[in-house]
Point group: C2
Chain length 144, copies 2
């Protein structure tokens, strides 16, 4: 069969950034959690590419995300698991989870019909830093 | 003038995720660097929305990114600033820098003509984690 005519299947890697994605198992690509047991997870709307939010996952929340098909994170402030949208109703439905070259960052493609930000904005990234408008104010903050 | 006909200017906030972006200065929105003085920075191709990579910025690299118009990061492993593409030639040209609701994560929109990943891939996210293919292997790793 002409490869260009092969039907798309659920297990066939789909392209990302113009390139085919390689399927990999946890065992083949151990996710490198940091010293706190966390990895940053970028949540992106499938199709549009909008980056909706960035949150943290530990091993348990990553497992729950993959098995339930909705996003689970680790709250650094509350020190507990949270299922995004469980309270607000704005559940994120997981399409796939990508892992980066160093296996220490995740990209979670979701379908998020509702707003992703607790402020009610579609994306948490609703502000642009204006260059030259001042100096960056560094401040150490307690981890959430 | 009809607002729908107003010309786009360099200072007019552009939409992101379907909503207008608010312009904010460093002073008005102090970036919250963590206890190491770092924030994660998601690098996204402008227009296509491809997430190319995630790296870390300290205050100095954020300042350099905004003033030079190319991306600068902090290497946790080498403990030094790096200008992405300075060696490979795959420089990323900064379009704008967004900051999230908690001001502890950055989204850097760039034009990256070349590959962003050191492996030669367009994006560092070229692998999909297959659900159910095994358990996540947690391992503490030395920070890069």
């Amino acid at each position: 069969m002409d490869a260009s005519q092969s039907p798309s299947t659920a297990t066939e890697p789909r392209a990302y950034a113009g390139e085919k994605v390689e399927l990999t198992s946890f065992g083949a690509t151990p996710v490198k959690f940091d010293s706190r047991g966390l990895v940053p997870a970028v949540v992106q709307q499938a199709g549009t590419g909008e980056v909706l939010m960035v949150a943290w996952m530990n091993e348990e929340s990553l497992g729950l995300t993959l098995t339930t098909g909705t996003t689970w994170f680790w709250s650094r402030g509350r020190q507990e698991l949270w299922n995004k949208g469980a309270t607000s109703g704005n559940i994120q439905h997981v399409k796939r989870v990508l892992v980066d070259c160093d296996a220490d960052t995740l990209l979670v493609e979701v379908d998020s019909p509702g707003p992703a930000c607790h402020t009610g904005h579609r994306s948490c990234f609703f502000r642009e830093l204006a260059a030259g408008a001042g100096e960056a104010h560094a401040q150490d903050t307690t981890r959430r």
